[in-house]
């Protein structure tokens, strides 16, 4: 990839600032845009193109409208069978558990978009 190539863009839709900070730090090699509310999320989705969306499970009611346009990871603090089913049935690409320790987030994101510096 060229040295000055634009970074891939990830939209995080969440209102848990602690996790947003943690995820943004993990994913610092990407351009991160944050939407704290569903209204902000719709505005960002309409305005710009993203390579991936990471949406809180509180967004399940709008998930189908997002998965129609983007690959979406649905993130949750407390995974449940019903929530996982709902997420996948509405087109989620991944249903991930929010982690504050050693995170698997970069590896999972890397399955969708190339990690800068690790492309062949």
């Amino acid at each position: 990839m060229a040295k000055n190539a634009p970074r891939a863009r990830i939209l995080i839709i969440d209102n848990e600032q602690y996790w947003i900070s943690f995820a943004s730090s993990d994913l610092a090699m990407f351009e991160i845009v944050v939407a704290h509310t569903k209204e902000q999320a719709f505005a960002e989705i309409e305005k710009d193109n993203f390579d991936l969306v990471i949406a809180s499970s509180s967004c399940l009611d709008i998930l189908a409208s997002i998965t129609a346009k983007y690959r979406v990871f649905v993130s949750t603090m407390q995974p449940t069978v019903q929530e996982a089913r709902d997420a996948y049935e509405q087109g989620a690409w991944r249903y991930i558990t929010k982690s504050f320790g050693q995170s698997d987030l970069v590896r999972q994101v890397g399955e969708v978009i190339p990690i800068p510096g690790r492309e062949n």
């Binding site: 449940t80 069978v81 929530e83 089913r85 996948y88 049935e89 690409w93 249903y95």
Partner: protein, 137 residues
């Protein structure tokens, strides 16, 4: 009644469930074959063509993971890719749902639907939808 000339394999180790699930599908016109175990299911799949397999998640009491049904779904995906798989279960965990419904790198899912046995009254509707049937008005 919609034209349901499809063959469905029902896999469940509990006879009452095989009869309940199979009966619901036969009542609306599907051809149903029942299997009580993985070996029986694989034998049926090798001998007959099935449009869909309805598989209980927990088939083997000795399987501590209670996910033997997913093993059958993996074999179906590999060996009989034209057969759709549906998991039905009274158990399950988010990790099981992930394995069952998460798309792979090619966008394929292991199964078409994941049903709870509490929702078995919706079974015909789900199967009709997966097999592309439209009810007559």
């Amino acid at each position: 009644m919609a034209d349901r000339r499809h063959r469905i394999l029902v896999v469940d180790d509990v006879k009452d469930w095989r009869q309940t699930l199979g009966g619901s599908l036969r009542d609306v016109g599907y051809e149903v074959v029942a299997a009580a175990s993985t070996p029986e299911a694989l034998e049926q799949l090798e001998q007959n063509e099935f449009d869909l397999a309805l598989i209980d998640l927990s088939l083997d009491l000795s399987d501590e993971t209670n996910t033997e049904g997913l093993n059958i779904a993996h074999k179906i995906q590999r060996n009989w890719p034209d057969t759709k798989s549906v998991i039905i279960t009274g158990y399950g965990t988010p990790d099981v749902v992930r394995e069952a419904l998460q798309p792979d790198k090619k966008g394929r899912r292991l199964i078409e639907a994941y049903l709870s046995k509490d929702e078995s009254e919706n079974l015909v509707e789900v199967i009709d939808t997966l097999l592309g049937l439209v009810p007559e008005d």
